[in-house]
Symmetry: C2
Subunit: 278 residues, 2 copies
């Protein structure tokens, strides 16, 4: 495993940034370093590739933060050369919206639409009714990273997780309660930001592992980015409440190291078949 | 007020169905009968117009139920002639995904992407951890419809709401708790279905009225349609937990008359200015 602490560019930036293409067509590479189960890139990572292309277009209009991103996952894919195609739908005074598509071998893999803004310029009332998960400090937590290594799941080499105790599913005794709370950060110490948050909400084990399911595959993921996160660990809470005919939602909340809510996400996903597809 | 009980077609269907156009271009009319504050059509209604166009394309592939819909609201609009343009992105074995855009005077008003499937054919595990809101029967509730009529808000003539008591904001005494539970149905008795549900989750007063806000405008709305609803009243729960710098999320859950969860929605919205825009 390489450690990017020693280089100027983080692993996430190296694997998601690309020189801008022309006319909204950007050649990219899907890295094999962010793979989830089955050798497919993690959904958060492929979202980040598409979002980076759109962020480039939005930056030229003065909008640097994605406020809301909705990504539809059309096909499983594999690492390799790919392409991001972007289109700006509307540029307004406070926000701008556009679509980005990730294509591999000419097939569309991810279609996302996002509204960008500038969180530093947002003004208005604040009233927070939710609370961060009650977690001991990361130093007082168990390091979950690699607690259960699965061959080929390279995502775990990029991310670090801490929780009060080993999850039931890791110990072979799922709790029956599809929820979890934990700390998360990039292993190489890269600070979270509003571009990384939409990827991070899909970079942790799904809550349905605690009801004995082997995994799930995302159909659609919506992320609200609510604030620019402070550097440091992110406190996360993940919950599933409705599993119906093999489909389930998963809610994901993220709080920064200063205890502020920074992201809220929900996905609709399909329970994986018992054996991970090749 | 017309009452469609006497005609063969419901108000919702009359105002959202249109003869299919050609090559994904469908001429439609934005009806003035579903207006929210400020003379603009309700966001759920404009979503329904775009969704109907896509549903037409999807039906020809055998997919009749939207499983997940994400709609971005690009501009305020007004009733009048409009156009829905659709594009199917991928047709798979179990699901199909496409995009629909609602245009008025050539300007894009709503861009939505949706994955369709067939809920009657979905198979797999079910496990429900949430509960419907604890509501007395509709007959034992207060009729909220028209409790506070706002000139021009024609949506209230189409919908019927019942709750255990008049909300605080109606009585001029917002509770300070941005949440509510109530029954909802089409006034003309049209049964809910999986095409109407994505419109209905945006057809009730926003939860932020209970913290003294005059209203809010949707940036993006995601809806998960989880089951085909039984005929009758829908039990709804609406909650906002994070208002940050004028932006807020709103969660909306819908249970059918038989107590089954049928839809889950979340939107990101902007608190309205003190005076409704003209």
């Amino acid at each position: 495993m390489t450690n990017a602490r020693t280089s100027d560019i983080s692993e996430f930036d190296r694997d998601t940034e690309f020189p801008p293409g022309r006319d909204g067509v950007h050649p990219v590479t899907i890295s094999p370093r962010w793979n989830a189960l089955g050798g497919s890139p993690n959904g958060g990572y492929s979202l980040a590739l598409a979002l980076r292309g759109l962020a480039h277009d939005m930056r030229s209009h003065g909008f640097v933060d994605p406020l809301v991103v909705s990504a539809f996952y059309l096909r499983r894919t594999t690492p390799g050369p790919a392409e991001v195609r972007t289109e700006v739908a509307r540029v307004g005074g406070r926000t701008a919206t556009g679509t980005a598509r990730l294509l591999r071998d000419g097939d569309e893999v991810v279609r996302l639409t996002a509204t960008f803004g500038d969180l530093a310029r947002m003004q208005g009332r604040s009233a927070v009714f939710g609370k961060p998960p009650p977690l001991p400090s990361p130093d007082a937590c168990v390091d979950l990273t690699g607690a259960r290594r699965i061959p080929g799941v390279t995502l775990v080499d990029r991310m670090e997780y801490r929780a009060p105790a080993l999850p039931g599913w890791v110990r072979g005794a799922p709790s029956g309660d599809p929820s979890a709370a934990f700390w998360m950060r990039f292993r190489d110490g890269r600070a979270p930001d509003t571009i990384a948050l939409p990827a991070l909400v899909d970079a942790a084990p799904p809550a349905v592992l605690e009801i004995g399911e082997p995994g799930s595959s995302t159909i659609e993921l919506t992320v609200h980015v609510r604030a620019r996160p402070a550097p440091g660990w992110l406190a996360c809470r993940v919950t599933t409440r409705y599993v119906i005919d093999g489909l389930h939602e998963e809610d994901f909340e993220v709080w920064d190291a200063e205890g502020r809510p920074v992201a809220q996400a929900r996905q609709l996903a399909l329970l994986a078949p018992t054996r991970a597809p090749a």
